[in-house]
Amino acid sequence: MDVGKSRLSYGGAACLALDRAMAADARVVALGEDVGRGGIFGQYRGLQQKFGGARVIDTPISESTIMGAAVGMALTGLKPVVEMRVVDFALCAMDEIVNQAAKARYMFGGQGRVPLVARLPIGIWTGSAAQHSQSLEAWFAHVPGLVVVTPGTPQDNHSLLAAAIDSGDPVIYMEHKELWSLEGEVVPGEKISLGKAKILQAGSDVTLVTWSRTVQTALEAVKRAKNISVELIDLRTIWPWDRETVLASAAKTRRLVVAHEAVRVAGFGAEIAATVAEELGIPVKRVGGARIPVGYSLPLEDEARIDVEGILRALTNF
């Protein structure tokens, strides 16, 4: 039993969770490009040395087979953690994710299950341009069979990765590339359930729902919001999303803002806003990225980001 806290990075916290899961359960394996070297973000550091190449499996650059093989492993008794480096590269494995991993249990009448965790980091990663910067969580939320998780803090990345490995479902696990070095206190082994949001700040005038890196932007906006009491919720899991917590908060504040870095058009914020509007009949607002590819040059990249001012405008403009 671990006691006490450690100060860990977002990436290090996830690495510790995987380390613990692999130590506790021989069925857990990790596979993907460069994992033996510790992963390009250090999120697998030391694991191959500790658990060997048979359980921390280096792969060729073969995204469709990495994912397809993980489905095969999962159907036959392993619990693979699949490294896709960035969500943009996982697009090379969409058939394996959407048609195979997500559907196998249902299509085969429950004869098999696909307990895998696919790590598909999202988000703008400064200077990385259009093919390394997308936030596609809504795509996966749309697919029945998939769980979608978007941790925003080191503790959440530790506890939610552990929960994802435990879950037994195919989990699309979406870390944010600009959070890898974010540090925070982590209680090793602390349990957080999938599908459970966290109220980061209680408030009475407006409910602000967000996730992933945008939690940091939202915290800044809340700090700067004058004469308005904001209830800030980190959704943490996109599917299943925590309707109970969001609806209870919105029923109290009677106003809802959803903010995410992903493109606003057809983003997951639309689902939350529509649900709240249907259930409670209260005014809702969405803040999201412009529907533009992420440009390389800084002035273009900045246009693709949502900022504190944008969130503040939405909070104060009911």
């Binding site: 390009i40 280096d58 650059i61 246009e303």
Partner: protein, 333 residues
């Protein structure tokens, strides 16, 4: 071209690529002292920078056999291909600096460099993604009854992705005018390709599909030129796709900030001793003054590119909303 002129041209291309890569590498760290430019953080090359230092002989030796109308596709490590195909160094530096005057107006950066005016159809952020695009371009040339060909550059890591097999098969089925160039630098990002690749290698895979080709020392620019020239002549005669496996070495890490400590020191030392530019200088028999003249011109060209890029205007933020699509244009939220 007389053989001496050709040798000088090959040297010039390699020297230009090397100088560009060195300058870009320094600029990604915030300064370019070797070229007399002190850059502040806000003008430096940002994001992942994949350098082709040490691999210059491959694009130089292949592209000297191409005309402006011929086409190429490239990879995330594409500066060398771009320069060798005849693109402007100045405009590429502007693109790396994120300036409006770059090839892509600052939208692409290093990983998405493209210059359609010289037939350079784009670098690519996704491994092997250029292969089907090259095949499609070659198919279009066939449909349009054009005489040009396509050279498709990809790395050793790409041969383990599905599009490699699918693209080669397609090209052979339709006997398309494309030269597949596997620029084998031995490393798939930070993992040894050899450890991840079964069988007798890229050329054997091509041959299994019926595509003939050659394996060549990719650090010997004259050998690359000769091999590419033979294969391209065959392609131009309508004999379908060919394959060139050029074995070279990546001097730098996967990206400029990667110290590549996962590599064996002896392996790296051996590779550095086999520097394609040094090998050429040693064996070419050209006059020292001729080579020094090219060095000097290259140095000036890079210094000028840095000056121009650092002074070039930033893109207007309105540019973020252009060239996306026609239908629905202007509806951004």
């Amino acid at each position: 071209m007389k053989s001496q002129d050709r040798a000088l041209a090959l040297y010039r291309t390699m020297a230009r690529i090397r100088a560009f890569e060195n300058a870009a590498e320094e600029a990604s760290r915030g300064g370019v002292s070797a070229f007399g430019a002190a850059l502040s953080n806000d003008v430096r090359v940002r994001g992942p920078l994949h350098l082709s230092t040490g691999q210059e002989a491959v694009p130089a030796g292949v592209c000297i056999n191409l005309a402006n109308e011929d086409l190429i596709t490239s990879t995330h490590r594409g500066h060398g291909h771009t320069l060798a195909k005849g693109a402007s160094m100045e405009k590429m530096m502007c693109e790396l600096f994120g300036r409006a005057t770059g090839f892509n107006g600052g939208k692409g950066g290093s990983m998405h460099i493209a210059d359609f005016s010289v037939g350079m159809l784009g670098a690519n952020g996704v491994v092997a993604a250029g292969i089907p695009i090259a095949v499609g371009a070659a198919h279009a040339l066939k449909v349009q009854a054009k005489k040009s060909i396509v050279a498709c550059f990809f790395g050793d890591g790409a041969i383990n992705r599905g599009p490699f097999l699918e693209g080669l098969n397609w090209a052979k089925v339709h006997e398309l005018p494309v030269l597949f160039v596997c620029e084998d630098n031995r490393w798939s990002a930070t993992t040894s390709t050899e450890a991840m690749t079964a069988g007798a290698g890229p050329l054997a895979r091509a041959k299994a599909i019926g595509i003939a080709g050659a394996e060549v020392d990719g650090n010997d620019v004259l050998a690359v030129d000769l091999a590419a020239s033979k294969l391209i002549n065959e392609i131009r005669k309508g004999k379908g796709p060919k394959f060139l496996h050029a074995i070279t070495y990546r001097f730098k890490g996967h990206v400029s900030v990667d110290p590549a400590t996962y590599r064996d020191g002896e392996e790296v030392a051996r590779a550095l001793a086999n520097d394609p530019i040094k090998v050429f200088v040693r064996n070419c028999g050209l006059k020292k003054e001729e080579l020094e003249k090219i060095q000097k011109q290259t140095h000036e060209e890079v210094a000028n590119a840095l000056r121009v890029a650092a002074a070039a205007p930033w893109p207007d933020k309105g540019g973020a909303y252009t060239d996306i699509q026609d239908a629905g244009s202007g509806q951004w939220t």
